[in-house]
């Protein structure tokens, strides 16, 4: 295959599938109890310098307890997959935990606006960045999941997004047409929040999967946080809805309301007031430091964060809001 042009962005991870196979050969397939705590999961599976990926869609079905814990444990020098990342990215920027980034969507919270602190961090020059599109990153994960070294897409061609990527324009051996080859990406560790999982890690996601099915299969280590821990027999009652099997999973943590302040489909809506507060306090760096101390550094765990955000009373309001969309209250 002829390479026609190359992006100049740094390639952070080795796309060699045989090295990945050597890793996956050794990864345990034992169906054993993988339940642990958020604190232990991060201590054991997220190390300084690792390449990290976060599941969900920014402020929808995010493993926010893990994201907070990574900041609380003050991880440093991480690589990060900036794929559909919004509030999760904002929190990780607050902790300055990463210094290299594959970026498709960063610093924004969609219709809510831009994160001032995330912008400051990205404009500081402290982070090495490579540009991609959302689909390009999904395909990089898909290639990894398939055990091949690259995927082929027809996006990014002709743009600066391509120039600042680590993709390569190639000529199709069949048609002679131009395509973009994007390198497989095996993150060191990923965290995904799901609706139900058993203690072995068999997981059920309700609603859209975003790119989590690819991510679960590409990641070398995988932490599952789940709204509800269920018995293995519940999984076996309807295996058609299992989308992440146990042999991909390293840790399982039950974290009810674990996507807060993000939306969890069918359970609770996003806390727009709290997300707006994040965006507001970021404007003043001193205020923001106090805010972070109050909500992350000085709390022992995510449960205490929930309490400080209004606890069950607030959660019940968000459950009602979600029911307006997805439940019996819907007109």
């Amino acid at each position: 295959m002829k390479v026609l042009e190359e992006g100049v962005g740094p390639l952070f991870m080795d796309p060699d599938p045989d090295k990945a196979r050597v890793f996956f050969r050794e990864k345990s397939r034992a169906m054993v109890d993988k339940r642990t705590t958020v604190k232990q999961a991060v201590e054991e599976f997220v190390h300084d310098g690792d390449y990290l990926a976060i599941g969900g869609f920014g402020a929808n079905r995010i493993p926010n307890a893990i994201v907070h814990e990574i900041v609380r444990q003050r991880r440093k020098g991480l690589g990060l997959l900036g794929h559909t990342s919004t509030h999760d990215f904002q929190v990780l920027c607050a902790g300055k935990v990463f210094d290299r980034l594959d970026s498709a969507y960063i610093v924004g919270l969609e219709a809510r606006g831009l994160s001032r602190n995330a912008r400051r961090y990205m404009e500081s020059g402290e982070v090495q960045v490579t540009e991609w599109s959302n689909y390009a990153l999904a395909v990089r994960l898909k290639a990894a999941a398939e055990g091949v070294s690259f995927g082929v897409i027809r996006c990014m061609l002709g743009t600066d997004t391509f120039k600042m990527s680590a993709g390569k324009e190639v000529e199709c051996p069949f048609t002679g047409k131009k395509f973009l080859a994007v390198p497989a990406l095996w993150p060191d560790v990923a965290a995904i929040h799901v609706h139900e999982a058993d203690m072995y890690g068999n997981s059920v996601i309700r609603g859209i999967s975003v790119a989590d099915l690819e991510l679960a299969r590409a990641s070398k280590r995988l932490i599952i946080t789940t709204e509800r821990l269920v018995h293995n027999s519940v999984i076996r009652d309807d295996p058609t809805i299992t989308s992440i099997p146990f042999y991909l999973v390293d840790a399982v943590v039950e974290v009810s309301y674990g996507s807060y302040p993000g939306n969890m489909p069918y359970l609770y809506f996003s806390d727009e007031e709290h997300l707006a507060l994040w965006l507001k306090v970021e404007k003043d760096p001193e205020e923001f430091e106090k805010f972070l101390d109050h909500y992350i550094y000085s709390v022992p765990d995510f449960q205490e964060y929930l309490v400080r955000c209004g606890g069950l009373k607030r959660i019940e309001e968000l459950q009602r809001l979600e029911n307006v969309v997805n439940g019996p209250d819907c007109a």
Binding site: F57, R119, C155, E169, F269, V325
Partner: protein, 256 residues
């Protein structure tokens, strides 16, 4: 007497009329979503709405705040993922997509990545997200935006998503499939693109707006055909549906 309306309402009504029945449209949050919802309630009940995070043909109960929030797949026919959406675009099954950005040039190329030098940006924006994918792979892309000189620029600081790139033949040369920018709907006018040069041209002017006004807030020379039309005003029925059914909380159309 013609009904009263604000500019956002006008833009949404105009955009909605381009969305044909039985076609597919990839939308984001805000005005594009309102336009698609309005089209469905007017002349395009079988318009299929897609969201990049995986929602297929939802019965939108309200305006989404995220393209991945639960309303984007409320009573949908499928809750899929990003690959399903983008492969559908790549196969040629997505007719329209709405895009946005900080800068747009005369060939409809879009910048949503940064202002200033890429390595030392004055302002860092989100980047492509799914925009480059839609701009590369959908048949017709549209933009709804305010018309400002800082936005309509001779040259984008960074081309995040492709329009017609350098003009005629630009997409083909780059390896992109046929497609590209279709309409730019602003608070002053509707712009299209010349069939041959693919440069931006004025198609219709909104009430009280003339060519000089549009040109004065555009950072490049717009093509001005001799048969410029007047933008069709929002009808009473469009406004009623938009205000009562599409956006009753006035999140997008505002409280003006």
């Amino acid at each position: 007497m013609a009904p009263e309306y604000n500019m956002m309402e006008l833009m949404i009504c105009v955009a909605s009329r381009y969305l044909e029945n039985g076609k597919t449209v990839a939308v984001g949050t805000g005005a594009p979503c309102a336009a698609a919802m309005l089209a469905q309630k007017m002349d395009a009940p079988d318009l299929v709405v897609l969201f990049e995070a995986g929602g297929v043909a939802p019965m939108l109960p309200k305006m989404p705040i995220s393209v991945g929030d639960s309303s984007t797949f409320y009573r949908a026919v499928m809750a899929a993922g990003m690959s399903e959406m983008m492969t559908t675009c790549a196969r040629g099954q997505v007719d329209y997509a709405f895009l946005g950005g900080a800068q747009i040039d005369k060939f409809g190329n879009i910048n949503s990545t940064c202002i200033g030098d890429y390595h030392k940006p004055k302002v860092r924006f989100p980047g492509s997200g799914g925009a480059n994918d839609f701009a590369s792979l959908c048949w017709r892309t549209m933009i709804m935006t305010v018309h400002e000189k800082a936005r309509f620029v001779e040259k984008c600081d960074f081309i995040t998503s492709p329009g017609f790139l350098g003009g005629d033949g630009g997409r083909e040369k780059a390896g992109l499939p046929e497609g590209g920018p279709y309409k730019i709907i602003t608070d002053l006018a509707v712009m299209g693109f010349d069939d041959e040069t693919h440069a931006m041209m004025i198609e219709s002017l909104h009430p009280g707006v003339d060519v000089d006004k549009v040109q004065s807030v555009t950072g490049f020379e717009l093509l001005v055909p001799s048969d410029i039309g007047r933008t069709g005003l929002p009808t009473e029925e469009e406004l009623r549906i938009l205000r009562e059914e599409v956006d009753p909380l006035r999140l997008v159309i505002g409280r003006a």
